[in-house]
């Protein structure tokens, strides 16, 4: 067994994840390297879900019976946990959504319906980047189409970094909002937040950070980031599906208009008009994802107990090893940074002219789960003139042995199609 400094005790950790014992294709133990798509869930999270449904299930808020009080305390308790996890100045800045995509659409729509000084219209500009997930592209394209605002973006360099050389032309006095990903979901690139935030602040633009690929893997401190909004999603960080988070600065959440209307988000309703509850409730219409919030709270507890610094160190060591081993595979070309510096544990590559679909399929036959395609970041594939990539992505339970299995698997792919 390869031993690397900085690794976690994966033997112990893997015992918490029932799915990692799964066997596929006649008894092959699964090698799960599709963590950028979604993570597996520890027993602790599944237990929290069951306990919620078996003992405390009720609709939240306004109830005077025991179950309603308990469910409300659990749901709002999850908000406290998430707020602490991201070092939010106030728990009321944490909005629960259904996923990161809704969080990002929420920001775009708040601004689309906002009054001055936030209003986005044909006089103004929106800035994104070429390495965004579709969920941080399409909402801004829609906003741009519907308001007339101009959509601009940063390009990418040959080695998978943001090209900020023209930052002063991209972010201008017309810019109302800059939205970008902290970590690329296709290339693993970690972006230089400070440089972008500084320029945005100079021109008075708001900053929205897509932390979907960051929150699971590193310390996320919304105050240190100095952003105005930060979005992420539960299912990639050991939590259930069906829950996302938007953190936003309190004064913005107070000033900006609501998005979805309905129960829970109101203060008082008459047929003629309604007034809205204070944030976060203003942005949480309808019965929220109660059990899912409770599950996310348990996930945050789980990650915190292991320590986000330790998880980051583990993944860094593993990435260093994986980059080295992958570059030994003939004809393999990494799309994105080809060192372990300023990058996450997500590695995209091409393998000669073998199509990623074929790479993925033959790996699957060996029990190795990777993702193939454009990974909801098609502009990156267009940028590099490739139809798709094969992507292996690691998490706190991934091991050097799994990296070895991947490399062996790729050798097999090469022989198979050689």
């Amino acid at each position: 067994m390869t031993q690397l400094p900085g690794l976690l005790d994966t033997e112990a950790i893997r015992k918490d994840f029932p799915l990692l014992d799964r066997q596929v294709h006649d008894g092959k133990k699964i090698v799960y390297l599709d963590n950028a798509a979604t993570s597996q869930k520890p027993r602790q999270v599944l237990d929290a879900l069951s306990a919620y449904y078996e003992r405390h299930n009720a609709n939240v808020h306004r109830g005077v019976h025991v179950l309603a009080e308990e469910a409300t305390a659990l749901y709002e308790g999850a908000r406290d946990k998430v707020a602490a996890f991201i070092n939010a100045p106030s728990r009321d800045e944490v909005i629960f959504t259904k996923n990161a995509s809704e969080s990002l659409n929420l920001v775009a729509n708040m601004l689309g319906w906002a009054d001055e000084p936030y209003r986005v219209d044909r006089e103004t500009e929106i800035v994104i980047t070429e390495m965004e997930h579709h969920s941080n592209i399409v909402p801004w394209q829609l906003l741009s189409q519907r308001t007339g605002a101009k959509l601009k973006w940063f390009g990418i360099t040959d080695d998978g970094r943001l090209d900020l050389s023209n930052i002063d032309e991209v972010i201008t006095e017309q810019t109302k909002i800059v939205s970008f990903t902290l970590v690329s979901n296709i290339m693993g690139t970690v972006n230089p937040v400070e440089t972008i935030v500084r320029r945005a602040q100079e021109v008075g633009a708001l900053v929205c950070i897509d932390a979907s690929q960051a929150a699971p893997h590193m310390v996320l401190d919304v105050q240190a980031l100095q952003a105005d909004f930060v979005a992420f999603t539960g299912h990639k960080m050991c939590g259930p599906t069906g829950i996302g988070v938007l953190w936003g600065r309190q004064e913005l959440l107070e000033d900006l208009p609501p998005f979805l209307g309905g129960g829970e988000m109101i203060e008082t309703v008459s047929m003629h008009s309604s007034t809205y509850a204070p944030a976060p409730h203003k942005f949480e219409a309808g019965t929220p994802p109660i059990a899912q919030a409770v599950g996310l709270g348990a996930a945050v507890d789980y990650l915190t107990a292991i320590g986000m610094e330790n998880i980051a160190a583990h993944e860094h060591a593993l990435t260093e090893y994986a980059v080295k081993r992958l570059l030994e595979v003939p004809d393999l070309k990494i799309i994105g940074p080809s060192t372990a510096e300023d990058r996450g544990a997500t590695l995209s590559f091409t393998l000669g002219d073998i199509h990623p679909h074929d790479v993925g399929q033959v790996l699957d036959e060996q029990g190795i789960a990777v993702r193939v395609g454009h990974h909801c970041a098609r502009p990156v594939c267009l940028r590099y003139g490739i139809p798709a990539t094969t992507r292996a992505s690691f998490y706190l339970y991934s091991t050097p042995g799994e990296v070895d299995a991947l490399v062996e698997g790729l050798e097999h792919v090469r022989n198979f199609f050689g």
Binding site: H357, D358, Q361, G373, F417
Partner: protein, 147 residues
Amino acid sequence: MYQDVILDHYKHPHGRGLRDGDAEVHHVNPTCGDEITLRVRLDGTTIEDVSYEGQGCSISQASASVLNDLLVGKELGEAQRIQETFLALMQSKGQVEPDDAMEEVLEDAVAFAGVSKYPARVKCALLSWMAWKDATAKALSQEAKTA
């Protein structure tokens, strides 16, 4: 899924390359980026040539090669029957075990039976067949216009 027949066609595609045609189409599978440019040349109701160029996975490439084998030289009616049989096989979700009668019609293409179990790959196998159908319709409508 990767039958030897499929791998053979992938490594040594039949009739690849663009040649003269009566109509040309360009089809894309947006979910995986597979692309094909395909031309059909007709002589009355006989398929004189199907030529193509493209990029994609082994399944889509092999499928185009098999198509070329099966359809070139056939009457249109016969070709359509083959296309429909192949489509049915691909939509069978692995439930159809090709019998002799089917093998009679599809020849090498029965090797794709296994692909039908993989929903994500069925579209790859069908890409060239959909392109052929489209190109043929185009060629016929042009002929009708000029006639």
